[in-house]
């Protein structure tokens, strides 16, 4: 962590209160409180400790169902403050499903339900008194396929602050800051009024990242953000992730093992297993510091996957 970034103290009680009474107690973060962009931080991320020290989100015995089908079974995980955690595994192992349960995007799918406990700063996000809208403001998401709104570049970024009723006078600053943080400002500063759909795929995805950070979330979920991008665009997004980790907790689902190895601090390996009835379920196999997963995995299935012998 760079010295110029002052980590905000995590106050469980304020998070709890804000989540439970929705927007009422939440005052928009002043742009001044946002960390400056630190270019040197790209290649200077410190190694993380063996155990998660400051927990932001945690899963306790979590299973996700679609109707009667149990897509992911009995997962225990915790995500560290301002770390990048990668969820890897073969197709159908439920990693994207699990990711969507972290900001309750699964709520939007009819029949989807979560068993077990998902906590955010200690608060059970599936508790009856938690406002999913407020949760999603704090736990943002970037999707697999870039999905800019059919609006101008400026309005794409300004949409989030506007719906959250941030002060109008701050919105131009928020737009510029977000685009700068997403390393997109120099490319689009002269065409903010043009449609977001006119950008290239990689630019669109960075636009979506900028849109996500414009509402100043705490956690950013990324669901295979580079799956539809070429290698150059991918490497830009990876550099960006490392920068953003100075300020945000990032959880990324990826099919690309090299990507997990390059960007993440910790890696969780999932696989799909048949149960006694012959039904497939996603299971967490191993969760450890990324270096350990790729060099000295404890489980032979992990070893087989990361060495390319399976999956």
């Amino acid at each position: 962590m760079s010295a110029s970034v002052t980590p905000e103290p995590i106050n469980r009680f304020s998070y709890t209160a804000a989540l439970k009474d929705g927007m009422k107690s939440m005052t928009p973060t002043q742009p001044a409180a946002m960390a400056p962009l630190v270019a040197s931080s790209i290649f200077s991320r410190d190694a993380v400790s063996e155990a998660v020290t400051t927990q932001v989100m945690a899963l306790e015995d979590v299973s996700v169902f679609y109707g009667d089908y149990e897509a992911v079974r009995n997962v225990d995980l915790e995500f560290g403050h301002r770390e990048i955690t990668a969820l890897i595994g073969p197709s159908g192992c439920g990693k994207s499903t699990l990711l969507r349960s972290l900001n309750r995007m699964n709520d939007l799918i009819p029949g989807a339900r979560v068993a077990g406990k998902v906590t955010y700063h200690g608060v059970d996000i599936y508790g009856s008194d938690v406002d999913a809208i407020e949760l999603r403001r704090r736990v943002g998401m970037v999707f697999q396929k870039p999905n800019p709104f059919p609006k101008s570049i400026y309005d794409n970024i300004a949409y989030g602050p506007r719906v959250l009723r941030m002060p109008k006078s701050q919105i131009p600053d928020i737009v510029e800051r977000s685009l700068r943080q997403a390393a997109l400002w120099d490319e689009v500063k002269d065409k903010l009024k043009e449609s977001g759909l006119a950008l290239s795929g990689g630019q669109q995805q960075r636009l979506c990242i900028a849109r996500c950070i414009a509402v100043q979330p705490d956690v950013i979920l990324m669901d295979e953000p580079c799956a539809s991008l070429d290698p150059i665009a991918t490497s830009k997004i990876e550099d960006l992730m490392k920068q953003l980790a100075d300020e945000f907790t990032i959880i990324i689902v990826t099919h690309n093992m090299q990507q997990a190895a390059r960007v993440s601090d910790r890696t969780a390996f999932f696989t799909a297993e048949l149960d006694e009835q012959g039904v497939r379920h996603g299971r967490l196999v191993e969760y450890a510091v990324t270096n350990k997963i790729f060099t000295a995995p404890a489980d032979e299935r992990t070893e087989a996957y990361v060495s390319g012998r399976f999956g």
């Binding site: 939007l108 009819p110 809208i133 998401m141 999707f143 800019p148 949409y159």
Partner: protein
């Protein structure tokens, strides 16, 4: 076969239009919209009350049917649970209502709106009845427009902490407006041409004044055409053809607007 079918349709349409124009051209002049109807003096008779009546009725219809129809479509597409019995009942009803003959709506309007609700044979009654008539069309076309909006836009908006209503209002509806407008304009142009239900709702009375409000008596262009056609003197038939031209021009403009909107705002995803 296809060519023959299309040719026949075009020939019939062309013959109709040419017939109407050649027949009505001598009376297609400002007198038509400056003067009131008369059954005694065809040379000075106009159709102002029918033209203003049509405008009054169609505006009333639009004001009632658009919010209701778009609201119903939003409910069905964005909020309703397709598995519930209520939802299926509503859906089947809408599809069936689209196929009900318009004269049946006229009877409904006469029995319930004009008599039971005691609104009388007024502009408002006509507007409500025509609104009911075109509501299924508006609902169905708006639902299609909403369904064409990619789910990824809704997901992107919800993931930012927008509420469902903010997502619908600020993201989904603006994208769906061209499709909705196209369907609504076509539905309204159907309502403009309707004569059958209004025969039962008082439009058939001989009216020589413009409507003054929602509870005013009225007539509309199709009814005025019908009136003139049933006169024995040829001069009235010419007048009827001239008024047909006005009606056709109005419908061409509305359909043109619908096509323009559809082409102008066609989206690529």
């Amino acid at each position: 076969m296809l060519t023959i079918g299309i040719s026949i349709a075009f020939i019939v349409l062309a013959v109709l239009i040419i017939f109407v124009i050649t027949e009505g051209w001598p009376r297609f002049n400002p007198i038509l919209w400056q003067n009131m109807p008369s059954i005694r003096f065809p040379e000075t008779a106009g159709a102002q009350s029918a033209i203003t009546g049509t405008i009054w009725v169609i505006c009333t219809t639009a004001v009632i049917s658009l919010p209701l129809g778009i609201g119903a479509a939003i409910y069905l597409e964005e909020y309703g649970n397709p598995a519930s019995r209520f939802y299926r009942l509503v859906e089947i009803n809408i599809q069936n209502l689209a196929a009900v003959p318009s004269i049946v709506y006229g009877i409904l309007g006469l029995a319930i709106i004009a008599r039971a609700l005691a609104l009388g044979q007024t502009v408002l009654t006509a507007g409500i009845t025509l609104a009911l008539l075109i509501l299924p069309v508006i609902i169905i076309s708006t639902r299609e427009a909403l369904r064409a909006v990619p789910q990824s836009i809704r997901a992107g908006s919800m993931a930012l902490g927008a509420t469902k209503w903010q997502t619908i209002w600020k993201q989904v509806l603006p994208v769906a407006i061209p499709g909705t407008a196209t369907g609504s304009i076509l539905a309204l142009s159907r309502a403009i041409g309707e004569a059958a239900p209004l025969l039962l709702l008082g439009a058939v009375t001989f009216i020589t004044f413009n409507p003054t409000g929602l509870n005013s008596a009225y007539t509309v262009m199709p009814i005025q055409i019908y009136n003139w056609i049933s006169q024995s003197r040829d001069e009235f038939h010419i007048l009827a053809a001239a008024l047909c031209m006005v009606l056709l021009i109005l419908l061409f403009i509305m359909n043109g607007l619908a096509v323009f909107l559809r082409n102008r705002y066609q989206r690529r995803w």
